[in-house]
Symmetry: C2
């Protein structure tokens, strides 16, 4: 069971309100998907993830195929039971991790596996698939489009993604074009496997590749539009700069079948989310909310920031040592209802991992509040006002 | 407001049921006190500490005087508000940390500050007090009996402890005797400061010193009995072996005024708790439940252990990789209600700190269950049966 429907459209942009229905519940879009890379939202018990208003989480095929292995997840009743999360789950295909790492580009900071930084793990890339070195024990591991789908079906995720080669920005157009063509063939193989093995409960997304090249994005989008995918995930290189990223998202979203669901892979900046929403993106995922939390950074609206240049406040800063107010006086999260900035500052200084937990809970709530405000803005034709509240001091 | 009353006595031992009343609530004894060394139960949000049935937590003067400083805690409304814990709080005096470290003995593994292991931090010990090196920034810090009390009053704990010199096992009897005499003089100064600065809401405990020497323990206990403390904390060296520890606890508890509250500092083994309870100890504290959890060890009753020699199961062991049962099928904790051994094993292998959090929640619940069972056993004259259930395979 999967369906996506657009329930309202913005007048001033391609933004839209939507609803994803899965066998594990509903996702009101635009929505943010929280990363549970290793089947865990880092440092946060799942009851707190839920209490913070989260609708959907994402786990990584790359990580879970290596540890614990998809067979163990399947035998234990699937990812939902393992994690103790009864809502919708999104899994990626593993392509991003294998290739961003293999190419050794700027995207080499692999989500959730810092150990590998700087090392090339991709051993061999053929028409058949990819062979890479496990970041856990160094063994050779193969991943094909067929296997990526089988794994995601074993995991039991609600929304899964076809295997693609994820190209970084520094390869040339010819490489990007050949890679995009290979990703199309892999997508077809992914779809065939999905039809054979799927139980009809899951949705399969095509990854839109083509780097920063409009004609290649067009070709990738056209292929995806013409195939029987339930939606699209915009992947690959979105460029070097924010402007370039905005341009790629802008042109790519225009190319896609507007009746289908659109996910933007790995983007989670607040400005970037407003831009994506205005382009018609329905869901976003990013490790940022919990990653920056572990470094003491708490998300607040622009006007609550002492330093207007950053999207967060740094609770490790000495200015918070005697600040007995909550992180945000507008926030209703567990952390803001119970703890002061001074307490969290102390926990950071005392190197208590609880600081990361408490800020993560806040940041998750803030991202959900952001998306709630965006949906409210879309419902009332006031998206731009919502954007100003969040982004302008 | 503080009172302690014995509500029932065991027929076969000196064990007793009791009730501590504080302005932040009641503690039914025998009870276990969970360590929130740095004003945080390591890795666990306080709502989970509470939901696991915890009655009382302990924070450390030594740690909090250095970070964030007791003035900040006081200005923020006290430790209860800082931590978000509205139940009773126990603070120690800082003596254990300063001296176990300073003497460089086997007790040098300081609770909560591994950084210092092997280094001597005690700079100077005089009649006036102790001067030690901060483990945070290396600055010289002084602690006197008066200051230890002032800090604990600023922290706002419900049960506080007089400053003592905590002697390790390897010093000789003469040193231990002189030290015990100094601790008596420090206890008198602590009591005087407590009378001056206290608001009548807190209880002050005397630390019983004297090492493994019966006559010195007797002298220390006699002094404490004759003074106006609300209770006793048995501290100092309890010996090299478990037998010696049992002997010291046994003789010391016999020396104390039976109408007053007795705490045994730093002991948390399940066998040891049963022994202490049988000697008449009312409360225990130890970092063990959360410390072993961070290393993958989950507390279970003896018959649930595959390896009868240990007091826990090691969830990092490969035997749990496909074990989809809960840690304990008798446990009602958040972790056991929601997650499998296989999931926690996976989290350990994936180095997710959530493994420590989930096992800590379980271990906290188990320690509370242990104490609930002990109280139940005392109420029904079946303490020995309870002990067998917990300790014998």
């Amino acid at each position: 069971m999967f369906s996506f429907s657009v329930t309202a459209k913005d007048h001033d942009s391609r933004a839209r309100l939507g609803r994803i229905v899965t066998s594990h519940g509903i996702v009101d879009t635009p929505a943010f998907i929280f990363c549970a890379t290793n089947a865990a939202v880092k440092g946060v018990t799942i009851d707190h993830v839920k209490a913070a208003g989260s609708q959907i989480i994402l786990s990584n095929t790359y990580h879970l195929m290596l540890q614990p292995g998809s067979d163990i997840v399947r035998d234990g009743g699937g990812l939902h039971r393992l994690i103790g999360w009864d809502g919708p789950i999104f899994t990626d295909s593993g392509g991003f991790q294998i290739f961003s790492l293999g190419h050794g580009g700027v995207e080499a900071e692999i989500k959730g596996s810092k150990q590998l930084s700087g090392k090339r793990s991709l051993l061999k890339l053929t028409e058949e698939g990819a062979c890479f070195r496990s970041y856990i024990d160094g063994t050779r591991v193969s991943l094909t489009p067929e296997l990526a789908i089988k794994i995601q079906i074993d995991l039991g995720a609600d929304i899964i993604v076809s295997l693609d080669e994820c190209t970084p920005y520094h390869v040339n157009k010819l490489y990007t074009a050949n890679s995009m063509e290979k990703s199309k063939r892999w997508a077809t193989r992914s779809l065939n496997t999905f039809r054979q093995l799927g139980n009809g409960e899951q949705a399969l997304l095509a990854v839109i590749q083509g780097g920063v090249y409009q004609d290649l994005r067009q070709e990738s989008a056209q292929f995806a539009n013409d195939s029987d995918f339930q939606g699209f995930a915009i992947g690959g290189s979105l460029g070097k700069t924010k402007d370039e990223m905005y341009r790629v998202v802008d042109i790519t979203t225009q190319m896609l079948d507007r009746s289908k669901y659109v996910h933007l892979l790995g983007i989670g900046g607040i400005d970037d989310i407003f831009h994506g929403v205005q382009c018609g993106v329905d869901t976003f995922d990013c490790v940022t909310p919990t990653r920056i939390a572990r470094h003491g950074a708490a998300i607040v609206k622009a006007r609550e920031k002492p330093d207007r240049s950053k999207g967060y406040i740094d609770l490790g800063h000495a200015r918070y040592s005697r600040d007995f107010s909550s992180i945000s006086n507008e926030c209703d999260c567990y952390t803001c209802r119970n703890f002061s900035r001074a307490y969290i500052h102390h926990l950071i200084k005392a190197r208590e991992v609880l600081s990361g937990t408490l800020i993560s809970i806040h940041n998750i709530r803030m991202m959900n509040r952001l998306m709630e405000d965006i949906r409210e803005g879309l419902a009332h034709g006031s998206l731009e006002e919502v954007r100003r509240q969040w982004c302008e001091p």
